[in-house]
Subunit: 633 residues, 2 copies
């Protein structure tokens, strides 16, 4: 209650600790000519250069999908609306004629997203006001240097920030990932190796795997590791690895730098019996992105890195009728997935799904009636390809009203009182969902809004295909799942960014410690009881939280300037769900990079640039720009 103006947003992570593994990796192999087959209206999740949105609208009508929206003429309505097709094309036009790009080759746009207006301007903006100046934030690499650019769409002004020389590259582009899967085929030794392992080239599926950072010899160039599988007789090729074979590739030159094959004697698993194929609109969405349901309203947008971003969540007070601020912004900040096998083909698998691959980029179109129920509304993403051309990621997010038959509130009085009270209110919620298919596992992230004001974030790897291999014959790094297939132990840590603005921006973080008190002799027949101590965090250190089961605490974000009728500050309680801790050595390279998992909750003062818990440029970074570094600073 004492402090204020202090703490504005917090990060917290939930870990999904899975023992019986799965692997992580990314894009399955595509032979170079297979790209001819795609049609963006059907496969908009994975658009190729042939089918991208050009500056004019599509001529043909939409193919049969349950939802189609012609995005070519989209216009923004709200300051936080994502960039439209027209705006991305405009950014591209402005930049390609800019001197940095005009005479330079190669260059690639790693991301083009809305640069959100200053928070104060957004907070003052009202519907009907003229839109705030639209700006784009662009991450680009030009002749192997990373740049962060701001493009003003009105004035066409371009601001260029060359990034400093510290480690880390932008998240891969889709082109980076795709080309890395077939680039090794240009190498004769690679082809020979595959054939020696008894795999026909037509059955080959290769995956691009980010390599983390493990010392000097991997510095100063953009590298990737590639591992391959046999697709023969199975859709579930993850069960048929060419174990022990790892290719180190220069992602820029596509040159094969090294082929390691330590698995010549390991048979390729048969993968028998491991196939898995099976062959009420209560809300309003205004202006494409403003969701209004029950007493809630919030802005929702797809993002190529974060997946879904919820902004300006507000809830209507049932008594006063007043609309009250709850959260300025919330999204999935980073995912850290370290595998637990230190051997050559596995040690580097310590993925950062958002910063290395793009969590939103991996979100496949949701499947109506299966991924989301009948009454769902779907929202598309509009993202740029590496050359800046926009394409549509259709049905990327769904929004639906959910009633599971659960009870929201109840109290029944015993009939003996004669009061005859039985008050029960069914629990109906609004769910915002995205599902990212990250190779052989699928993340589902749900934001669930309750009428009582609660916001619940659920992250799950809903029935992963639990299969991956190890080069160990023994049950050492996992459990045997199918013939010759071992599940390697690994963790999934998911970190959320939550900028809470409860009844305004001046919020404090309160830790309520529950402690045992002993009574004095004779004071009471009880020897002990529990007491709650409230402590307002005064420094960032105070707000680095390690959960302790036997030294429990509650965590409140309060507005000390707003009181309830009886004088308590208004606030929200932050309740971690399935929690986990990283047990890795703090000095282990993956843990330095994933240092944001050293605590389960961190609260830092508002800083517009600190959004990505693993840093802006995560790829191959050493961890100089993580949440842990900001918080200690």
């Amino acid at each position: 209650m004492e402090s204020r103006h202090y703490i504005r947003f917090l990060f917290f992570f939930v870990g999904i600790a899975t023992l019986l593994a799965i692997t992580w990796n990314n894009l399955p192999y595509a032979p170079p000519d297979a790209t001819e087959d795609f049609d963006c209206t059907t496969y908009s999740s994975w658009c190729t250069s042939k089918n991208r949105f050009q500056s004019k609208p599509l001529k043909e009508p939409a193919k049969s999908t349950s939802h189609h929206h012609d995005h070519a003429s989209d216009t923004p309505h709200h300051p936080l609306d994502p960039l439209t097709v027209k705006e991305i094309n405009r950014v591209r036009t402005i930049l390609t004629s800019h001197e940095l790009f005009k005479n330079s080759f190669p260059y690639a746009f790693h991301s083009i997203t809305l640069q959100e207006p200053k928070k104060s301007l957004v907070l003052n903006w009202n519907k009907g006001d003229s839109l705030l100046p639209r700006k784009a934030s662009v991450v680009a690499r030009v002749q192997n240097i990373s740049y962060v650019l701001a493009v003003d769409l009105t004035t066409e002004e371009v601001t260029v920030h060359e990034t400093d020389s510290s480690s880390g590259y932008p998240a891969m582009t889709i082109e980076d990932m795709t080309s890395s899967t077939w680039a090794p085929l240009a190498d004769e030794e690679f082809n020979r190796t595959i054939l020696e392992r008894g795999v026909d080239l037509k059955d080959l599926a290769c995956l691009p795997i980010s390599l983390g950072w493990y010392g000097e010899k991997e510095e100063n160039r953009r590298l990737i590791k590639v591992q391959c599988y046999s697709m023969k007789d199975t859709a579930n090729f993850y069960m048929r690895p060419i174990e022990g074979l790892t290719i180190l590739l220069d992602m820029d030159t596509k040159e094969v730098l090294e082929i390691t094959d330590k698995g010549k004697n390991i048979p390729i698993p048969k993968a028998v019996n491991t196939d898995y194929r099976y062959s009420a609109q209560g809300f309003v969405i205004e202006d494409e992105h403003l969701v209004k349901w029950a007493n809630w309203e919030f802005h929702l947008k797809p993002d190529p890195r974060a997946g879904a971003i919820v902004s300006q969540a507000r809830v209507r007070d049932p008594d006063s009728g007043e609309i009250r601020n709850v959260m300025y912004k919330g999204f999935t900040s980073e995912l850290f997935v370290p595998y637990m096998d230190p051997t050559d083909a596995w040690y580097f698998k310590t993925y950062m799904d958002a910063g290395e691959y793009g969590f939103g980029l991996q979100a496949m179109p949701l499947d109506p009636l299966n991924d989301c129920p009948r009454n769902a509304h779907y929202m598309d993403g509009v993202f740029p390809a590496a050359d800046g051309t926009p394409y549509v990621r259709s049905n990327m997010i769904c929004i639906f009203e959910s009633y599971a038959g659960d009870i929201g509130w109840r109290h029944a009085e015993s009939p003996i009182t004669g009061m005859g009270i039985k008050e029960v209110r069914p629990k109906v919620t609004l769910v915002v969902r995205m599902a990212a298919s990250v190779a052989n596992y699928d993340y589902i992230v749900d934001w669930e809004f309750q009428t009582d004001g609660l916001i619940r974030i659920k992250a799950s790897t809903a029935y992963e295909n639990m299969n991956q291999i190890s080069n160990q014959a023994e049950n050492l790094f996992g459990t045997l799942l199918s013939e010759n297939v071992i599940g390697v132990i690994h963790d999934h840590f998911i970190t959320f960014y939550l900028d809470m603005d409860i009844d305004g921006s001046d919020n404090s973080f309160v830790k309520v410690n529950i402690k045992r008190q002993e009574t004095s002799p004779g004071e009471s027949p009880r020897r002990s009881y529990l007491k709650a101590d409230r402590n307002v965090a005064k420094t960032e250190k105070d707000a680095q939280i390690k959960l302790k089961l036997y030294d429990p605490a509650e965590f409140h974000v309060i507005n000390p300037t707003k009181k309830t009728r009886v004088g308590n500050p208004v606030g929200y309680k932050v309740v971690p769900g399935g929690t986990a801790a990283s047990l890795l050595d703090r000095e282990d390279p993956p843990q330095k990079r994933g240092a944001f998992t050293n605590n389960q909750i961190w609260v830092t003062p508002y800083n517009e640039s600190e959004q990505w818990a693993g840093g802006l440029f995560v790829y191959q970074s050493k961890g100089e720009d993580t949440l842990a570094v900001w918080s200690d600073r």
Copy 2:
């Protein structure tokens, strides 16, 4: 994998740690003549002697309830079916002519339930076989001695076990609770005290509160404490306590032993603005109790102490078509709710809801469409009153198919593979629900069955009415919730009994510890990784589990004699949900009684009599018969 024949069932508890309190207590006050108003067909949750089932069926048709079933002619179909109206009447007839009861007064039946046949007989019984001999297990008190009796309904043989002299009484009867609320009115000093506090007797509501055990002076008689409230101008009388007033009553003689009033200067809160009033049958239930849904089947019955009991849960193997055993029996074994205020009017509030009040007895009829959705089926309980007369607790359990719009399983392959795979299966589950209204909070316990074989038990105090008072003006034992009302800190610990029989009764308990391993210098670019160590529990001590966030483990119940295709034992993983630990001093009287919360998981060898984690006779017990005692023995 090594050991077998060892461990058969386990207890584990989840704690709902609520900081912002509520109180616990039980039956609101009823003036003695108010009981005239009840009609069992409407208020079957709370039947009085005038409206109980007599030996002949009801003559009038059922009143308007969404579901009515004439239980007078019920017959058992399955060996585990609960006692019917006819059978309870028969037990009563047999016992009232038995020499123990014939010439004795007073006596009371504290429970009359099915004495389940030996497990081996039940396992060998098949539908169509003649029913196994029906027996009743009776807990009775005769002239202040507690007895456990077995009554054979065929032979009329009665076996009498007088209980030993150790502490503890049976759970209160409903008559005990009801009469305790009005008994103080016979005491002049009590009446005077109420008037002195400014409360009109017509506005008085009193609650019977179990007192635990706090030393010798409370031994050798059945006591209860009574605290009172004003109902004036509110339905939410819990907000209007007559604070500081506690009456100690002899439950057998109804004599007021002591009136303590330490609250003469504490005003009765006004309770302004605290009122809360608001003005697909995919499954089959055979023979009233055998539930069949999707690939599941299980037996379900209401129980006055446990609430709902799930037996013989079995799941059909999708590959072999074979029905496989999963769990022999599961139920809520005990609930422990210690409050955290050591002062006179509060220290003893350390409730055991199942063993002191009867968790099933407190289950009020579920409210169709609000408590359970449209497609729900309802199951009634048939329980005996203290004189042995059966009555119907209608709509006590509901069973329904739930679809929340969630995803059961998914995997989408990147379209670049050309495989065009997108497999998503919606998550549809079967839910078994009961809701116990325990004074001003309502517990909801759901057993949820998934088609993938998972069983989830969810316990919640769904929107409790978060109000209770303390005699402290300062924010010492809780938080100010409304004018003059403080929420006293307390915990809810709920312990479940799970007799797992995975593919048969020979199951083992395996603890899988996840430990950090450091690599040797030069072995790997990684410094550390995690390794799983499997340890089969060899003693009960090995299977006393304290959860540790930073020393994590998984818990498996396996059948070491049955292997999967690749040689792993079949098994289930036990995944604790919201977990908590009791922080009370181990020597504190409430913690000795609630010692089953000293560990989160206990596994003990099968022993038919060890079902109730707090002991058979919990009321006023010192804790000599808890799970902690059995496990250490």
